[in-house]
């Protein structure tokens, strides 16, 4: 008897919204974040489908059509909607293929930097004091170098290529995850559920990864969005300086650096790759603001 009455009471009580629902309701309150999400989704789609939807291959050179202006400008043609570059390659196709590189860089950098950073942050949070201090001092050292400068120096050692640029950017971004994870871990460790898990006999690894880590994820996810956009910016900057992706790879920053000498003659070869970078980064940052509002009540923008 008591059993049935209890179950019926439980089902009749209003259910709290599922976590995903709750997240979405906060996230969608922020109109910018939703726009950012749509733009991000669109760019991601373009990146994935680039070989299918791009009018031409990124490397095909139309020698008789070098520096064709975009279609709406005088001399433009629908054959090349956004014009062509100094080698006669179609800008639109190159930009679409370029999206692949930027998103790839963002994903790899975030995956590498976050997994390494979370691991070290957890270790620092749980470790005895000397090890914690050691890890954090090492991170201080990395943070003392301006990120782009350190990435440049690392690429100078490793040799300029897109892969090495990604490694360098991931190393530079890692300390932010370490600091963030450690701070959340320290905060969680003072709470009673951790003590009770410990008393119940949970081992160290279980405490670290199963008990504590899930409760530290919110700020880390926000940081991931931020470092995704930073990775795209830094990779483009390295490409621009000639230390990232090498021509003829249609990476957006590399495209800009290739066309620099034409800026006063052909504005479109400079304008469009930059717009692509700006739109991608802006969309991700908008999403990041929304994620922060939805995931982290403490950091919520008032």
């Amino acid at each position: 008897m008591t059993d049935t009455s209890m179950t019926s009471a439980a089902t009749s009580a209003p259910q709290p919204p599922s976590r995903l629902r709750e997240f979405w309701s906060y996230f969608s309150e922020n109109r910018g974040a939703v726009i950012g999400l749509y733009v991000f989704g669109f760019l991601l789609l373009v990146a994935i489908l680039a070989p299918l939807i791009a009018p031409y291959d990124a490397a095909t050179q139309f020698r008789q059509h070098t520096l064709t202006p975009p279609v709406w400008a005088e001399g433009g043609t629908w054959d090349f909607p956004l014009g062509t570059d100094p080698l006669g390659r179609d800008m639109l196709s190159r930009l679409m293929h370029g999206a692949r590189y930027s998103f790839f860089v963002g994903l790899v950098v975030v995956a590498v930097a976050a997994s390494g950073g979370i691991l070290f942050g957890l270790i620092a949070g749980f470790a005895p004091r000397w090890l914690d201090t050691f890890i954090m001092r090492v991170m201080d050292v990395v943070l003392a170098f301006p990120s782009l400068l350190l990435a440049l120096a690392l690429v100078a050692i490793l040799g300029p290529s897109l892969l090495n640029a990604m490694i360098a950017i991931a190393i530079v971004q890692q300390p932010h995850y370490v600091r963030l994870t450690r701070a959340s871990v320290m905060n969680e460790l003072t709470k009673e559920y951790v003590t009770s898990a410990r008393v119940a006999g949970a081992g160290l690894l279980r405490l670290m990864f199963v008990t504590v880590l899930p409760n530290c994820l919110a700020p880390i996810i926000v940081q991931a969005a931020l470092s995704f956009s930073n990775a795209i910016l830094d990779a483009a900057a390295l490409g621009f300086l000639g230390m990232g992706a090498q021509p003829p790879i249609p990476e957006w920053g590399t495209m800009l650096s290739e066309s620099r000498e034409f800026i006063l003659r052909a504005w479109w070869v400079v304008t469009f790759p930059g717009i692509a970078i700006l739109v991608a980064v802006l969309a991700i940052n908008l999403m990041g603001d929304g994620l922060r509002d939805a995931l982290d009540p403490k950091m919520r923008r008032s």
């Binding site: 440049l152 910016l233 300086l241 230390m243 800026i263 006063l264 930059g274």
Partner: protein, 336 residues
């Protein structure tokens, strides 16, 4: 108080040694024999090779090498440029004023525009101005500044012809280097038009370099203001009948400034990273361009020394900000 200062200084030392270690490791992590790598296509005689081997000491034990490097650094010996044979230290300080001048102008622009923008946004929270300003700030924050620089060049140098594309001053002006700051030196020289020329060279690079700090300062000012405006003492001030201008300006802004000042202090790293790009684009003869050029020239002793000096500057400024912050805000001081 003293304990706080000492503890901060103590954490500075291991970081200093760590930073030195990184710049020490840099040259030794190069794949292959660093001397051969640096020589590149220029090639080397056996004699010169032996001489360089002796100078860099790559054949000695690593620990000995590091000790010699560290003691050298403490005494201001950062080695010599592989290309010019001048001490890295001298080259750095010959170029540093150019970067400093550019950075100071950039941070002034960022503060003068960023703080009012943040205050206006906070006071008009949720209204049109707030949205417009904060959207602009987010665009600025997301801006690839190397592209922004090219756009400004297209418009202001190309189409309008208002500003020069590169350098610090027109070549027809020549005067003594007194402070290293072109704006001041050109005034001191008393030459007609020199100051205007220097200012015209400076304006675009400083706008470019100011962009990201400006966006960060505006966002930070807004959120700090909002936090302060919701405090009880602000309500009290309002209840006592103070005008809203007085409340916002005097009571709120002053207290909101603490986090903003921290952000300004911490943007040194951003400025240095931005200087690398800005100086490369505008051929601004500062340390950012110097570093990039040295990397391309494989002048690794310069890269090594520059890395260390730039990191030290960032660390020192952060330390000062930290100490000032502790001075202003006792809560920070007593946390440990």
């Amino acid at each position: 108080m003293l304990r706080f200062f000492l503890s901060r200084l103590l954490t500075f030392i291991p970081t200093f040694i760590g930073v030195t270690l990184v710049s020490f490791a840099f040259i030794r992590l190069l794949p292959g024999d660093p001397i051969i790598v640096m020589a590149g296509e220029r090639g080397l005689t056996d004699e010169r090779y032996a001489e360089l081997q002796e100078k860099f000491g790559f054949d000695r034990p690593l620990a000995v090498q590091f000790w010699e490097y560290l003691t050298g650094v403490v005494q201001g010996d950062l080695g010599e440029s592989f290309v010019t044979n001048r001490p890295v230290w001298d080259e750095f300080f010959a170029l540093f004023p150019a970067t400093l001048e550019l950075s100071i102008c950039a941070i002034i622009i960022a503060i003068l525009l960023g703080i009012p923008a943040g205050v206006i946004a906070a006071v008009n929270r949720g209204k049109f101005f707030d949205r417009a300003l904060m959207s602009t700030a987010l665009v600025g924050y997301s801006m690839p500044i190397f592209w922004w620089a090219l756009l400004l060049i297209i418009v202001f140098s190309g189409n309008l012809g208002w500003t020069p594309v590169s350098g610090r001053i027109d070549l027809l002006y020549f005067f003594d280097d007194v402070t290293g700051f072109m704006l001041i030196d050109s005034l001191l020289s008393g030459q007609d038009g020199a100051f205007r020329s220097a200012a015209r060279h400076l304006i675009l690079p400083s706008i470019v370099l100011a962009t990201i700090p400006l966006a960060v300062i505006a966002r930070q000012t807004r959120s700090a203001m909002l936090e302060v405006l919701s405090e009880d003492y602000i309500r009290t001030a309002r209840a006592k009948g103070l005008s809203s201008g007085r409340v916002n300006g005097l009571h709120a802004l002053r207290n909101a400034m603490i986090p903003v000042i921290t952000v300004i202090g911490l943007s040194v790293g951003t400025l240095m990273a931005g200087a690398i790009l800005t100086e490369s684009i505008f051929s601004w003869p500062g340390i950012g361009k110097w570093m990039v050029d040295s990397i391309f020239r494989r002048d690794y002793p310069v890269v090594q020394g520059g890395l260390l000096l730039i990191a030290l500057i960032v660390m020192l400024v952060n330390l000062i900000v930290d100490l000032l912050y502790g001075l202003i805000n006792p809560r920070i001081r007593h946390r440990e």
